[in-house]
Symmetry: C2
Subunit: 155 residues, 2 copies
């Protein structure tokens, strides 16, 4: 697992989001790391995240890809605008395709990239790989919220 600080640790250490909050003791702790044009994350499943023995639950797959893609969008919008802190972004929509069962015996690797963006939003495509194969894909839209939205100060 990459030991450099993740985007979440750098910009939202107090955040308690189920999927990616460093401060959520029962959360998934997605750790998103920029790597060239991609944002990547490595993750390890626990027993209670499974759908059935040895296979990751599809809802957890969505939760991982949703949060990882949201941070990919926030990171991109930050660099695009030249700010030194990412805007608070929320998910507008995400679509998950489950291509094959995701084995929980080994590491799970996420990769995300920007495929389209405007001033306040980005479309992100992401994959989940495990056991040497792409097991799931995600495409989603993530939007920087405006002052007054309940998520405006989320990080």
């Amino acid at each position: 697992m990459t030991q450099e600080p993740s985007l979440q640790e750098r910009y939202a250490p107090q955040n308690a989001c189920f999927g990616c909050g460093p401060a959520n003791q029962k959360g998934l702790h997605v750790r998103s790391i920029p790597q060239g044009e991609l944002v990547v994350a490595d993750w390890k499943s626990e027993l209670h995240h499974e759908a059935f023995p040895g296979v990751l639950n599809g809802g957890i797959i969505g939760a991982l890809l949703d949060c990882h893609s949201n941070w990919t969008a926030a990171w991109h919008l930050m660099r695009q605008s030249g700010e030194d802190h990412p805007p608070c972004t929320v998910t507008a929509d995400y679509s998950i395709k489950l291509l094959r069962p995701t084995p929980t015996s080994g590491p799970i690797h996420l990769e995300a990239k920007i495929v389209e963006s405007k001033e306040d939003r980005a479309t992100v495509e992401a994959t989940l790989q495990a056991g040497g194969k792409t097991c799931a894909t995600c495409r989603g839209t993530f939007v920087a919220v405006k002052p007054g939205h309940p998520a405006y100060h989320r990080w």
Copy 2:
């Protein structure tokens, strides 16, 4: 909360799926109940399921709607084939639209219905309602697996 046995309790009491397994102590315990042409569920969030204070995480929303829709499909395919036990179904894909923040202060209500089906699969549309509003929607495809698939004996 409806006290009649849920589909999961009736047909898969030993199942430990993160989203809907009665036997998963750390899971979401979605309890899907047929109600006419719909399948409904009532659910209550815990603190660690939030995205930020007072608002449900979008990955958890997906996990709830995915499992609830999967059981809606299994129930439908069982009745369609005249069997007395649902086939083991898995998610092929699901798409989530988040229409507004989902408040965690009160009950969360899921409703799902079949919109298309073949012999071995069904397309399901579902909604998540909270605070008197529809906060999220889902559309997904769920497939009855064949012998040899690792999910064949999941319930």
